[in-house]
Amino acid sequence: MAQLLYFSWVRERIGKSEEQFDLPDGVQDVAALIEVLRERDNGYATAFEDLSRIRIAVGQSHVGTDHTISDTDEIAFFPPVTGG
């Protein structure tokens, strides 16, 4: 099971901060995972409606949507960061 994490308004739109998720067969990169999540309900669809506003971390490192993922990864979705 992959561990999915959501932060900021991504978390608020999806309605949870984390979940275990069984990557379906054929889902091998972040882009494919986002497509699957979008179909789940309106919250996910709204969270991922504009991918230019979504940032991704796999294994706690920044990655792009083409990053390969596996069923043991920690995969986080969040808006562009605004700390500092």
């Binding site: 932060f7 900021s8 971390a57 920044h62 986080a76 808006p79 960061v81 605004t82 700390g83």
Partner: protein
């Protein structure tokens, strides 16, 4: 090695400098940057900083290590707070120490630019009208490009 902290508590700049510097006499230049909660139009009630525990520490350590690799620093410290803060309160502290002032200035400037674009923190501003997530600024992305050459 660069030292980083992610904490809810406030920090004391003089105390942090003294702890880093201790009895060393090979340091000639100390630069600090402190970021504070700004309320330009008087409407802000509070600001809440959410972060990604684990990744935050990794990113802060990585950017601090990178600063130490790029400049001859004798000490480097980054503290970033999370939680709910009032207008005027401290958010972030960067300290760089070097024998040379330009190295200390550049490293602190670099640290802030990288932190702003890489450290997983998100600011939510609360006003009488409700709460809003702060949008990232394009100028922060552009600031990073200064360090690529």
């Amino acid at each position: 090695m660069a030292s980083i902290s992610v904490q809810a508590d406030d920090f004391d700049i003089t105390g942090e400098i003294n702890a880093l510097k201790a009895d060393r006499v090979d340091i000639g230049a100390i630069v600090t940057f402190t970021g504070t909660v700004r309320d330009l139009d008087g409407s802000l009630t509070s600001m809440t900083l959410e972060h990604y525990p684990g990744m935050t520490e990794r990113e802060l350590q990585a950017v601090a290590d990178e600063a130490e690799a790029r400049w001859p620093l004798q000490a480097c410290r980054v503290i970033h707070r999370y939680g709910t803060l009032s207008p005027g309160e401290n958010i972030v502290l960067v300290i760089t120490m070097s024998a040379h002032r330009h190295a200390a200035f550049q490293a602190a400037d670099f640290l802030m630019d990288f932190l702003k674009s890489r450290a997983p923190f998100w600011k939510k501003e609360e006003t009488g009208e409700g709460a809003t997530w702060v949008d990232a600024r394009e100028s922060d992305e552009l600031a990073l490009k200064r360090w690529n050459s």
